[in-house]
Symmetry: C7
Subunit: 94 residues, 7 copies
């Protein structure tokens, strides 16, 4: 199991379908938008300078939108995940 | 439903009418001004280093002006929205 | 009505008279100085990291000097205003 | 009257005499040093993140040295002043 | 013994196997991913501006993932270690 | 008298002897090291964000080493001094 | 005696032996690693924004590793020392 540290969140990124016209793969315009994915694990939260711990605003299983280009790709047991900072998660898709 | 996180606010951007003269589309001079829109959803607010949570200064339905080029465009259920940080909202239009 | 947010202040900028000599418009040397204007509306003030709210140092009707190039131009009901951060207001002209 | 805001201080800058040799004006070497002037008015002081207000370290009438190139030049009722941040005042000349 | 200071952590970096095809060494694609290793020693933690000490989120023996290019390589008694800041450790591999 | 403000310290810089060989002045290699001098006056100290005032770590008459290139040169009553921030003083020479 | 100020630490840098092969001096590969040395004196520690003083994490006589290129070289009574900030000391060698 991967246990993210601090305010980090592990996300399984949703795959975007590529549209093809006559066999030519077209980059979806949606690719310039933020990506979406499913939260797999959350860290214990971030610590303020006052010492207070702020838990993550998302939880396991949440569908989320996050800033494109945020985070670090990791490979674990054959699967690929993205580990992003909680501040790079824009919204929960409910 | 899209639920913005932190001090983020989801805005439906007001469309600007383009003036055309004899079929030629003229870029409105107003386009260099801040944009306006309607607040669709607000996050729970930002957290100060002291741990205090500051709620958003705007609420659903507010007409707002926001800094041009601020925020991230998102597409959700066929509609386009802008998710901006509360600090990029300049004024409420009452 | 436009209601500025945070420590923002709406200013109606004073027009500078341009001197002309024999029909040639001369850029006033004063133009390189800070601009002056009248405060039209003030936001609720800025919030310190301690949570304390600091009200604006200016009020409606004040004549103020502000840093040139500060702020964002907005157009509202046919009039042009400047919305500046309170920290860019240099002095009150009494 | 000009009332400076925050930790700003209004200074009437002391004029430096230029030495001339045979009619040629020589830039004084002292010009590369900090400038001096007289404090005309002081703001209410700066506000710490803790909310505490720190009054200016100088008062009206003080002769002060300040960092060259600091501040903003203003013209008021025909006179020229410099408005500088309190942190750019180096020393009081007693 | 090496005793790391502050929020630093000493890591013995896991060696990555290189795949070779017909004798040609291929850089593993995994090399662009974060590195993994074993925690050898942890410092006393970081000190917040409030004076509170936050202990490290990892302990001796933990298998961790950390940001590639983070930290400082050290050689000690013939062995090579990496000393990284706690904030550069992404996740614990359990 | 010159009274430095905040955490500033006025220093009379020690002159370095230049070695000359056969009339040719050699730049001393020591010139690339920090400079030394005597503390002439100290300000009231710096103010923390908590409002607490931290007095200077040096006092009048102290021999000090300070970062080369730090501070502002001032001329006062025919003498030249350096006014440096307390944080640029490296050590007291006892 | 040299008394370092704030969180500074005076270090006597350990000399690295250079390997020579047939008279040609080879730069040791270890030179790209952090340097080691002996702590000669420590300052009173750093002051947090809360006013709390944090003493140095090292003491006189400690063998330490520190970031290469950190600190300021000083010469005192014929000896050369390095004065580094406490935050640039990576580890104590016990």
């Amino acid at each position: 199991m991967l246990k993210p540290l601090g305010d980090r969140v592990i996300i399984e990124v949703a795959k975007e379908e590529e549209k093809s016209v006559g066999g030519i793969v077209l980059a979806s315009s949606a690719k310039e938008k933020p990506q979406t994915g499913t939260v797999i694990a959350v860290g214990e939260g971030r610590v303020l300078e006052s010492g207070q711990k702020i838990p993550a605003a998302v939880k396991e299983g949440d569908q989320v939108m996050f800033e494109k280009y945020a985070g670090t790709e990791v490979k674990y047991e054959g699967n690929e995940y993205l580990i992003v900072s909680g501040k790079d998660i824009i919204a929960i898709v409910e």
